[in-house]
């Protein structure tokens, strides 16, 4: 076991993948000498060379479009989009090209491309640097979408994403990059939780709290606080946003009878809406209350002096939990 930050854990996972398969490439803006603006690729170009860790021109569509071409040639590119709000110039290449190659070719073509996106707010940034664009990609068949929340998981999840023959959009909670945890960097991927599985992070019996990425930690803290009020919350890290591990969710909600979904992304048509619909369908007779959502408002991400009001925090999570007990 080694104590690693989230940033370093992903870095170690990338290193493992680069070592294991010469077809793995890293490409993006400033990923080389600089090591990425969050240092996630620190030292990799020095060790693996400029043709495997590629500083690209400043063009997101170009990064993903050329990654598609490299994948067609047998490579496994891992693209870094520098910030969440900069993924949109690459949107067509991701949604209309990357996601569709397999179907377009009737299965002849595989697309082992990973797109890493630092996401979410809470770092006092300017516009376009704090967004949560995950549902645009969840809505697109052909893509897998995952979100890591902490170092240990991130270390294995990035390797699993790279090993997948399907395109994976890999969200990294940027305000948690410097969170530290114990990581077993010698662990075998074979024994790891599958990339498609949710994880029950804290067991509980009174309500289920579902989250992913940056707010997972907030939800765990909320569960600790709720315990002092005599409430036992079950916290689930969804991890895979597409496909959703709905079986784990349903199992928990049938047990607790209450469900709160927590995410930074705007509440309207967010992942919480999809989960609410599925929980309604699968847990109707078990529900004590409607599914509640603690999420970003249906507004653009505000200027950073307002973000503490925009982002769901521990109190807003507990408030949502409280509301499920009002029924």
């Amino acid at each position: 076991m080694t104590t690693l930050t989230l940033s370093k854990a992903i870095n170690e996972g990338l290193r493992k993948s680069l070592e294991a398969d010469p077809k793995v490439l890293i490409m993006g803006e400033d990923v080389g000498k600089l090591g990425g603006v969050f240092r996630v690729t620190d030292g990799l170009q020095k060790d693996f060379g400029e043709s495997r860790v590629v500083d690209t021109p400043l063009a997101e569509s170009g990064i993903v479009g050329t990654a598609i071409g490299l994948a067609l040639r047998g490579y496994r590119p891992v693209c870094e989009i520098q910030f969440d709000g900069f993924v949109f110039p690459a949107f067509d290449q991701i949604v209309s090209q990357l996601a569709k190659q397999r179907l377009r070719s009737l299965g002849h073509v595989k697309m082992p491309v990973v797109i890493r996106i630092p996401c979410g707010g809470g770092i006092g940034a300017v516009e376009h640097h704090s967004e949560s664009p995950e549902v645009y990609f969840v809505h697109t068949a052909g893509l897998r979408v995952v979100a890591c929340s902490g170092p240990a998981d991130a270390f294995t999840m990035i390797q699993q994403a790279i090993a997948s023959d399907d395109p994976v959009i890999f969200f990294e909670p940027k305000r948690r990059y410097w969170d530290k945890a114990e990581v077993d960097t010698t662990a075998d991927l074979a024994g790891a939780l599958p990339l498609t599985s949710a994880r029950i992070v804290a067991e509980g019996s009174d309500a289920t709290v579902l989250s992913y990425g940056p707010l997972l930690r907030t939800c765990v803290e909320a569960a600790v606080a709720a315990r002092e009020d005599g409430r036992s919350l079950e916290v689930i890290d969804l991890r895979s946003l597409s496909p959703l591990d709905i079986g784990t969710v349903v199992g928990s909600v049938r047990k607790t009878g209450r469900c709160v979904v927590v995410h930074e992304a705007p509440v309207t048509a967010g992942l919480g809406a999809e989960i609410a619909a599925r929980v309604m369908q699968e847990c109707f007779y078990h529900l004590e209350a409607p599914v509640m959502r603690a999420a970003g408002f249906s507004t653009p991400y505000p200027p950073s002096r307002l973000e503490e009001h925009y982002l769901p925090d521990l109190d807003r999570v507990l408030d949502a939990v409280d509301r499920t007990f009002a029924y």
């Binding site: 021109p57 040639r73 290449q93 569709k100 377009r104 002849h108």
Partner: protein, 385 residues
Amino acid sequence: MAVDADGAVTTAPEPASLDRQAGSRVETIQLLTPEGERLEHPDYPLELSTDEVKGLYRDLVLVRRIDTEAIALQRQGELGIWASLLGQEAAQVGSGRALGPRDMAFPTYREHGVAWCRGVDPMKLLELFRGVSHGGWDPAERGFHLYTIVIGAQALHATGYAMGIQRDGLVGEDGEAVIAYFGDGATSQGDVNEAFVFASVFNAPVVFFCQNNQWAISEPLERQSRVPLYQRASGFGFPGIRVDGNDVFACLAVTRRAMQAAREGQGPTFIEAFTYRMGAHTTTDDPTRYRLATELEAWKLKDPLERVKAYLVRTGGADAAFFEAIDAEAAEVGRSVRQGCLAMPDPEPMSIFENIYSEPNALLDAEREQFAAYLDSFEAGEVAR
């Protein structure tokens, strides 16, 4: 295009808005005049045997026949839509025949002539336009990627593929290269310009082959550019060449040279094949709403097939029996396309769920089961009745 006294240098009749540009005198590489007269160009020597010329003529006739048949099938409701290549046969056959077996082509949705040269079954193209699949062929099998409908997106795929060739160490002697096809409208797209940047800074082995057919649906070239398109390349740092896109010899020679340069590590080339879309943009389009019949008439005189025929006749390379045999073969190809199209079954409903992911997807599996049960409920009902 006015041909100069020596026949090699021509001055293109630029639209008024282009005349203000410095250097508006444009060289267009031409090796075969519309009258079928052979020209030499010092940079593009081309030795073709009579059989090779006959082979090119056969390609041109057969791809036009496939195109004509497909338009008829659309008119009869057998295809949802068809994007005709009429008028662009020489650009496609010339460039297509310049490729080696290990080269890779990235087409738009109009490259039926290139598909023919690569050996892709025309039925696969019809599948797409009939709505049976989105393409479905194996790109690796023939070195011909899937048709890409979003304008210009494939230029980046081609460039990335070329970057892969570099990483495979296959640039140099016995190297491989990539050709990216797109049209004049696509030169306005960000993706095409980003592809130019990536290809240039990485010196990728890719040739950008732009068929300037003068029209992007209803928009004329001057809505895309104030400079001749091939001149754009210089700003990106690689050579740009204009070739007579209705001259199969010139398209072959120019593409061969550019591909060889790419294979050897000299980086990208931009080729502007100056041609004309003789038909509608697609079968849903009505070009009489936006362009003059006189323009069409002028281009008819530059027909890509007629000039090769004239050359073969002029040089005594082919007799009437040859042309009759080609026409008979074209009729047979037309029949086979028609029969193949009419015999094409619709895909099974459950195939909607196939080839989305390589790995199992529980949510999709659940939808599949639900839909299968729904379909079965009708069959059960019919049996009961």
